[in-house]
Amino acid sequence: MTALTSNSAGQSVPAGHRLSEADYQTNFSDIHTPLDARSAVVEADRCYYCYGAPCQTACPTDIDVPSFIRMISEKNEVGAAGKILSENIMGGTCARACPVETLCEDACVRNTEDDRPIQIGLLQRFATDRASELGAKFFTRKAATGYSVAVVGAGPAGLSCAHRLATLGHDVVIYEAQEKSGGLNEYGLAAYKMAGDYAQKEVENILSIGGISIKHGTKVGKDVSFAELQTNHDAVFMGVGLGTSKDIQLDGEDASGVLNAVDYIHQLRQAKDLGQLPVGQDVVVIGGGMTAIDIAIQIKRLGAANVTMAYRRGKEHMNASIEEQEFALNEGVHIAHWAKPVSLQIEQGTITGVEFKKANVEGNETYITPTDMLFKAIGQSLTPINMGTTEFVKTSGKYDVDNELRTSQLGIWAGGDCVSGSDDLAVSAVQDGKLAALSIHKTLTQSQA
């Protein structure tokens, strides 16, 4: 990382304004250095090949981690990628974006002997990248069943479901409101985690199985009715993301300079020229989760002079892992804990500051943090979809599903962020899609018999 107050040529750049082209390149290139062939083998050889391995148990998609790592140590990267992708078709994205420090790598037994865990994420990336470079194909379709399944949303849940269904011989039509596939992989993850247009490359690989068509720019309930989906298909899988950012419930939220973090990241991910993005000088981010961390770091890397993440509770309560918090601190982001926003300072329709109350002390003492750009990153809720007369049992607006991802409506499954109890992780969405596909397959083929 170059210092953001000067460009790579050492010339001073006005804070909160554009950086040099080289700085944008550096700041938004791949955050992790991938393992090379030799370091991958050395790292793989550190793996103890545990029995009933805790890393595998910790993986939401149940990847056989010890086996794929052993295959890397045997220089069978393609076989390793096969192991990974057979359980998690988005193994490449998960290798980049999974919070491994709270999942597989947290469970690694190496942690318990004053050692560092195996770099499972980087090894998974090594194998999947290598297989992709070699153009390895792992899946073939079973004989056509004649069934057609509608999948709503081309994000991790939808694509995972579609891919598994396609391998089982079903035809799939994905209805996607956006112009591109990938969901949060394309529009939501931090840019430096998905460098090199990785989301689209992965989608391309997934679709190469055949039997999946995607209708982009097609919003269910608007461009196509839910009833049509039910009529035209034998089953429906709902894999939509959360469309609505939660408000902070203070006056002035519609003022200029107050933005939804998710919308800004969406814009950032699609920007052809990062220099055209608006960047404040004194940025405040409200929230304590991954999105808050992602927007804080990215806005800093775009040239903001001061970035403060304000979270209403303590460090240990934050949804972002300790590692992610440290990453933000290293980037120069200031994290204010126990900071509860109580009012927004608006002048002439523009944000100028946020008034915070110290949430961990008694009394009414407040302080003001000046800001010209405020991001809301306190979570999202499911945007209601017009589903006609079809009614679902929901919790907090999200679909309730059983352990096979069946909703309360016969013939309709749901998975990923839109189901109640979801952890909002891409890796969990992939698992939901996979399990839903298996359940759909079972239902369809049983009804045939």
């Binding site: 083998v41 050889d45 103890y48 090949y49 545990c50 029995y51 009933g52 037994v109 318990t112 002997e113």
Partner: protein, 432 residues
């Protein structure tokens, strides 16, 4: 710090660390560097008959078995004896011995099994002032096809005959270097003893093929289109060498013949183990070919401190100290009972002990403790085999506990007896 002064069959050196007869001792340049680094002595690379020098291959002479982190575990070579002119070698030996009077210089020899050939070479070596000779009866490649090296070492009568010629025609201390490529190394060691040799050295390298290049489906390494077996050495061969060493050390017919230990010695610990099992000094090759000569500094320091810690005042007190602890299987105490125990504080719950025991041994390690992942030994099934100990990645996490006399072995339901009972005394032994 303890003085490591060594006296091996009358050859006095400042320490017991010698370089084996091999490429590192092929010429004065290397040997001078070795002595500067502190090596106690060298076995000068094997000389052959006078005449046109041998020709080595100008392709790969070495192959290796690497660990995943490129640690060199084993080395194989197909180099022949010296390919330099005999006269040059002899002249250099004279000069080196003159320059380094306190170091050992022993000349390795290999000539055809003809009395006159040995008489000729012995006279030449005697004139150099060298401290002794080592008869190369071990080299397993190339020379053995010509009836020398291992081809001699594999026939005890030849070993005896040539050793006897050397003693008859020269006054030089004579060491016979033994090949491990034989069923029972004691037979050739006994031949050396009968021939009057002053010492034996072992092991020479082991017949080996390093591998196959799976892309070309060709033996690897190969010289052009084909390869040939070579001699294997390095850390991987150490256990084989220790076995052969201890066999000779405790063999009555070998009559306590002094032994120079060779085979994968990489550091002072290896050296100390060889000496404890009967080696008077040790010879090193692969380790210096991997790291260079300076490792001798660490070896000197380490061995010296070890002797001090043991309360020993000279290397002589270490030599053979562990030989009485080596015995035959039928002398092992069958009333001894041990059980594995897992230290739960250091256990990292990898489960390797369980799966090793479950799949391949006695199903004696359970996977749950109070309903949670955890590994525990089932004493009623444990035979104390040590497999869990060796597969556990955490040192000293699993140990064997010796049961006390009078304790019940829950596997057999019997009390542990204080009485020593070996197989020859056991009621189940019908053969006697």
């Amino acid at each position: 710090m303890i003085d490591l002064k060594s006296n091996f069959i009358g050859i006095e050196t400042p320490n017991p660390f010698w370089l084996a007869s091999a490429p590192p001792t092929d010429k004065a340049y290397n040997v001078n560097r070795a002595f500067e680094a502190g090596w106690g002595g060298v076995m000068w690379k094997t000389l052959g008959e006078a005449g046109l020098p041998l020709v080595n291959v100008s392709g790969p002479r070495y192959g290796a078995w690497h660990g995943k982190d490129r640690t060199l575990m084993g080395l194989n070579n197909i180099e022949l004896i010296t390919d330099r002119d005999l006269e040059i070698n002899l002249a250099e030996i004279i000069q080196v011995k003159k320059d380094w009077p306190d170091r050992g210089v022993v000349v390795s020899l290999m000539v055809p099994c003809e009395e006159q050939a040995w008489i000729d070479i012995l006279r030449r070596v005697e004139d150099t002032g060298a401290d002794g000779i080592e008869l190369n009866f071990g080299c397993p490649h190339g020379m053995s096809e010509r009836g020398m090296g291992a081809a001699v070492g594999q026939v005890p009568e030849y070993v005896e005959m040539v050793a006897a010629w050397c003693k008859q025609y020269s006054d030089l201390p004579t060491i016979v270097k033994l090949t491990p490529n034989i069923t029972d190394i004691r037979t050739s060691a006994r031949g050396a003893v009968r021939g009057g040799a002053d010492a034996v050295s072992l092991i020479n390298t082991i017949n080996s093929v390093m591998g196959v290049d799976l892309n070309q489906l060709r033996m690897s390494p190969s010289v052009g289109q084909q390869g040939s077996h070579g001699g294997y050495c390095g850390p991987a061969v150490k256990p084989i060498a220790l076995h052969m060493l201890s066999e000779i050390a405790r063999d009555v017919e070998c009559n306590d013949i002094p032994i120079s230990g060779i085979g994968g010695i990489t550091d002072w610990r290896d050296a100390a183990e060889f000496m404890a099992l009967g080696a008077s000094n040790v010879q090193v090759c692969t380790a210096v070919m991997t790291y260079g000569f300076r490792i001798v500094e660490d070896m000197i320091d380490g061995l010296s401190r070890y002797l001090a810690d043991q309360g020993m005042t000279s290397v002589d007190q270490l030599i053979g100290a562990a030989v009485p602890t080596v015995t035959s299987w039928n002398k092992l105490d069958l009333n001894y009972v041990a059980k594995a125990q897992i230290d739960q504080d250091s256990c990292i719950k990898c489960g390797r002990c369980h799966i090793a025991c479950e799949d391949t041994s006695h199903q004696a390690i359970s996977t749950e403790i109070n309903g949670e992942r955890g590994f525990q030994v089932k004493d009623e099934d444990c035979v104390g085999c040590n497999l869990c100990v060796v597969v556990c990645p955490v040192e000293n996490c699993i140990t064997l506990r010796e049961l006390d006399t009078g304790e019940v072995d829950s596997r057999t339901g019997e009390l542990v007896s204080a009485n020593y009972q070996n197989w020859t005394q056991h009621p189940n032994n019908s053969v006697g």
